[in-house]
């Protein structure tokens, strides 16, 4: 059957974009290379425990939260059950060198109070800084329907870095740690992270932090149900090998088996650095092609999926960030494992009874460089490497957190695993980063009818990818139409 729109990729931005376009009356087909939809967010089960691999928690969905109208507009509020993270400690930070653990409470006033009590001499500056985050985070396009989209994008190119902004407000290393720890959630160091990006990510969680009952799997299932209701087909095992064009206008795509599918619009949600490979050289100007291919990627990661004999109380409705030394916290893989900051979360908060643990630590693809070209059937040496890294990480977690002694490793994802599932160059855990000074691509491309969506367009996370879909679909349907619909959901 003929379709109007082909969406390449069934991750969160692909599914969300397909839904918005189908509701505007277009016939939409989603193509996914993997055997099942949304392979990164869908998670997996091992030995009876469910593990999330892409989604962990979401901010900005509490009462009055700026993300709520979009959730309602999509219909996700009808399909999903949210549960709040612990009000007194939704995120915790442990600093290994001092042995101190700090807890962030939910809410801007509560965070001001908590940090003010911990660092009384900096109380006034903390108040002003948290106030800035409070006003900045919800100015993100589509969270604020009046934000100038083009101007906002420029702030992340030319604006201040998180490090510069924090320099005016925080002196104590431990306070710098607490105010920069969420950089692990977008994969940039505070020197390279725009202040506005940190404000959007951290601020959404300061506002409110929720889990989704059933995790990423439930989120994907809800989106697929909504797509089914809207008449959208999602085809898995469909690898797009080229985006076709006639007379400088998109005409469809070609699949690996040679099948050609026609469409008047194509939304590509793959890592934008890969886009030039799907196009003929003459279809993009060299300047644009080089810019896409040269986009800087975030770091990769090792992800531990483990079982604990006893329930891990400290991770119930809470995450634990661990940093070796106090000071600005960076997602930095360029040091030995034991010197890297990392992130721990309970797997399947509600299903696994606290027995599943996920640990994410920055890594570089060079650490597994020997096996990059081996394909999915990798060698015994690779398996040995995984066992060694897995054992080292379990020992590290146990040394830093007595509660995590005696974890059993069920699975370890490496930069190669992340690459296999996301196709991101170098296994980039958040794809193309929003590095200060870098012009990330606009949803509209140089080829008429071809649009981009995904975390590179807006920001990582459920919130970032959903907003990227609105930016993309707004470029296609008209921002005023989408904004008008959202206004009725407030």
């Amino acid at each position: 059957m003929q379709q109007d729109v082909i969406v390449i990729g069934s991750g969160l931005s692909g599914l969300t974009s397909a839904l918005l376009l189908a509701r505007s009356g277009r016939k939409v087909l989603v193509l996914e290379q993997h055997a099942r939809p949304a392979p990164v967010v869908n998670g997996f089960s091992r030995q009876g425990l469910y593990f999330d691999s892409g989604f962990h928690y979401v901010g900005g969905l509490g009462k009055g939260g700026a993300f709520r109208p979009l959730f309602r507009h999509l219909g996700l509020d009808r399909k999903l059950e949210l549960f709040p993270f612990a009000a007194d400690r939704f995120d915790q930070l442990k600093i290994v060198s001092t042995g101190e653990t700090y807890a962030l409470p939910v809410g801007f006033a509560e965070i001001r109070r908590e940090l003010g009590a911990l660092f009384p001499q900096q109380r006034e500056k903390i108040d002003r800084y948290i106030g800035e985050i409070e006003t900045t985070w919800s100015r993100f396009p589509y969270l604020d329907l009046n934000t100038d989209i083009a101007d906002y994008a420029m702030q992340t190119v030319h604006g201040e870095s998180l490090k510069e902004r924090l320099g005016e407000f925080a002196e104590t290393p431990e306070l710098l740690s607490l105010l920069s720890m969420h950089s692990l959630l977008y994969g940039l160091s505070p020197e390279m992270a725009p202040f506005t990006l940190n404000a959007q990510v951290a601020g959404s969680y300061y506002h409110s932090a929720h889990g989704i009952r059933g995790g990423g799997r439930a989120l994907v299932a809800a989106l697929l149900e909504l797509l089914d209701e809207a008449g959208v087909e999602v085809r898995c095992g469909a690898e797009v090998t080229s985006i076709d064009a006639e007379a400088a206008t998109v005409s469809g795509v070609t699949l690996a088996d040679g099948e050609q599918l026609q469409a008047t619009e194509v939304v590509a949600t793959l890592n934008p650095a890969l886009l030039p490979q799907l196009l003929q050289p003459g279809q993009l100007r060299p300047a644009y092609r080089k810019r896409l291919a040269g986009l800087k990627q975030t770091c990769s990661a090792y992800i531990v999926f483990a079982r604990s004999a006893q329930a891990i109380e400290s991770l119930q409705k809470s995450n634990l960030f661990v940093q070796p030394q106090p000071g600005l916290l960076a997602a930095n893989p360029d040091c030995p494992l034991r010197e890297r900051a990392y992130y721990l979360a309970a797997a399947g908060q509600e299903q696994n009874g606290g027995h599943g643990v996920i640990g994410i630590i920055p890594a570089h693809v060079d650490e597994v460089a020997d096996w990059v070209d081996a394909g999915p059937q990798r060698s015994p040496a690779y398996r040995q490497h995984k066992e060694r890294i897995g054992a080292e990480l379990l020992a590290l977690f146990a040394d830093n957190n007595p509660e995590l002694a005696g974890l059993e490793l069920l699975e370890l994802a490496t930069p190669l695993t992340l690459h296999d599932y996301s196709l991101a160059p170098q296994g980039a855990v958040y794809g193309v980063g929003r590095f200060l000074g870098q012009y990330n691509p606009h949803p509209m491309t140089r080829l008429r009818g071809l649009f981009l969506s995904g975390q590179a367009i807006a920001a990582p996370g459920l919130l970032g990818t959903v907003v990227s879909s609105y930016l993309t679909c707004g470029s296609i349907l008209g921002h005023e139409q989408l904004r008008g619909e959202i206004r009725t959901c407030h």
């Binding site: 420029m154 000074g437 012009y439």
Partner: protein, 84 residues
């Protein structure tokens, strides 16, 4: 770098990266109407010039005001003077 060298580097970089015909690239050529660029190309133009001259362009208002190739020459020459 002489003024003429700066202009030559601008023109050759833009010709290569935007596949422009050097014969069309006169100083009074309108970059949108005569050279076929559009607003989406502006960011790429900034990146090409940043790469060619190794400086950062943060003057969004000035970039938005550019209409002709001659405007680009003047803008870059001004930046080169500021950086020397």
């Amino acid at each position: 770098m002489t003024e003429q060298e700066v202009i030559e580097l601008i023109d050759s970089s833009l010709a290569e990266e935007f596949e422009l015909d050097r014969a069309d690239m006169t100083p009074d050529a309108n970059i949108y109407e005569d050279l076929g660029l559009d607003s989406l190309d502006t960011v790429d133009m900034v990146i090409v010039l940043e790469g060619a001259f190794d400086f950062k362009i943060r003057e969004e208002e000035s970039v938005r005001a550019i209409r002709t190739l001659g405007d680009i020459h003047q803008f870059v020459l001004q930046k080169v003077v500021e950086h020397s």
